[in-house]
Symmetry: C2
Subunit: 276 residues, 2 copies
């Protein structure tokens, strides 16, 4: 099915008038700030959630969110998506049995020793999130050059300083780029786009400007993405999960510096030869 | 009632071993990263939510969260709070009728023209969030000096770069300081502490390191706090809400520079005389 993308910086920002103080001087001026809208997701007519987001790639966001939350299955057949931009409603139509049983998505796993920082706290994650076997490699040089390119891609960040970015990459180049006020949303937009366009996320790499919490790590690992590269730092729970799920977790990438927290064997000094 | 605080940097961080790349050099080293735990909140025995947070001031976090989400009323009588640190459960006991009717908290307000960026999307917020009448003032100099002091207070940020901070201040000084991996949590910790200790939030000022989205703005305005000062930028929806709710919203505070987005009359050039 064809999904409309609403991708224009004009739509994603708003000009506001404000009082700017610079040392002893004060002036009235105008600045661009990022837009935020409350998007309500309905699946087969049932309201499931309202999320706050940047109004861009909303169809992808809705589907990515439903997949990440385990509200629709990976095998789901999406029959239609209708966005109402006036009321910020999005209606997703799926085959009846694609919806998980009620309560499953939020059900907590009890008694698995969460204190160790390596356990799942939602039943749906424990079920879907198995250790990755991917042998994909990336060169140090590519991590640095892709992060540099990635950080330069967000015109919306340049204009507003109010968004996070995420990207899906091969070992060679950036393939999908997303932005949102929420770091979770930016990744869900990638997941939704891949799902709707039939793009495999296996053996890929995720780049993100945000911090890596357990939620982000689980979201990425559930898509079978073996390498996650963040400009920021991870939490201990994210590191514990990455270790156990065989995910390579790279953080604090700044210029030609980075910290490889887990499974550093996927990062090579030399350039990785292209597959032919 | 007396609430135990678990406030120690040792408890809030974990040392991990990692591979550090610096240009052409690679070494195994150790770094401190911030801890993240899944805290499940039960009210009168019913599981209401699991949140991911930094394990500090969890009693305050739980109560602040329940108040912010409208799950307990402002007049609620809290009979007891018991934290289980092994399983990360917290049990809050309240008088039966303090719990709002089920579904209220997440119910969306329909047909109020959210596209304009100044409407509530949750019924519970529209009900509780009325325009503020506070005439409290702050001097420019105090905004700059309190932000500077505030940014220096987080030893946890210095150690890990993985947390947000928030503070409650009078026009004169910082009174409560909190930290968490989530910017929402840091503010909920303040709200919970004020509630449990009977500290009024009226005429106070909130400082935060995080961006100001509609959720943060609403959380603060519901506590009748008339001035919010952020190191980062707001969204258009937050600015629209601040305008309508008579909240002074200050963002992008860096050194002796700031942007006052709304109700700049509360910020004065000269020092505000102390009340006697």
């Amino acid at each position: 099915m064809e999904i409309k993308e609403c991708r224009s910086t004009m739509d994603l920002t708003r000009e506001v008038e404000l009082t700017q103080v610079r040392y002893d001087e004060e002036s009235r001026t105008k600045n661009r700030i990022v837009r935020e809208v409350p998007l309500t997701i309905l699946v087969n007519g049932t309201e499931l959630a309202t999320m706050l987001c940047t109004p861009d790639k909303l169809e992808y966001l809705a589907v990515g969110f439903l997949l990440s939350e385990g509200l629709i299955k990976k095998e789901a057949e999406i029959k239609g998506i209708t966005l109402n931009e006036k009321g910020w409603y999005i209606r997703v139509e799926i085959a009846d049995d694609d919806l998980l049983e009620e309560g499953m998505a939020s059900k907590r796993v009890i008694g698995t020793g969460c204190a160790g920082g390596i356990s799942f706290y939602r039943a749906v994650d424990a079920k879907d999130c198995l250790p990755l076997k991917s042998g994909v490699l990336i060169s140090r040089e590519k991590v640095f050059s892709m992060m540099k390119e990635f950080l330069g891609m967000s015109g919306l960040y340049r204009d507003t300083h109010g968004v996070h970015s995420a990207a899906l990459c091969s070992s060679e180049k950036i393939e999908i780029f997303t932005e949102d006020i929420g770091r979770h949303n930016a990744i869900d937009k990638i997941i939704g786009e891949c799902f709707l366009k039939g793009i495999s996320t296996e053996d890929r790499i995720i780049l993100t400007t945000g911090r890596i919490s357990s939620e982000i790590l689980i979201k990425v690992a559930k898509q079978r993405i073996p390498i996650i590269v963040a400009r920021s730092v991870p939490t201990d729970m994210a590191v514990g999960l990455a270790e156990r799920l065989n995910v390579t977790l790279i953080g604090s990438v700044r210029g030609s510096r980075m910290n490889i927290y887990t499974h550093d064997w996927r990062v090579k000094v030399e350039t990785i030869p292209k597959k032919r």
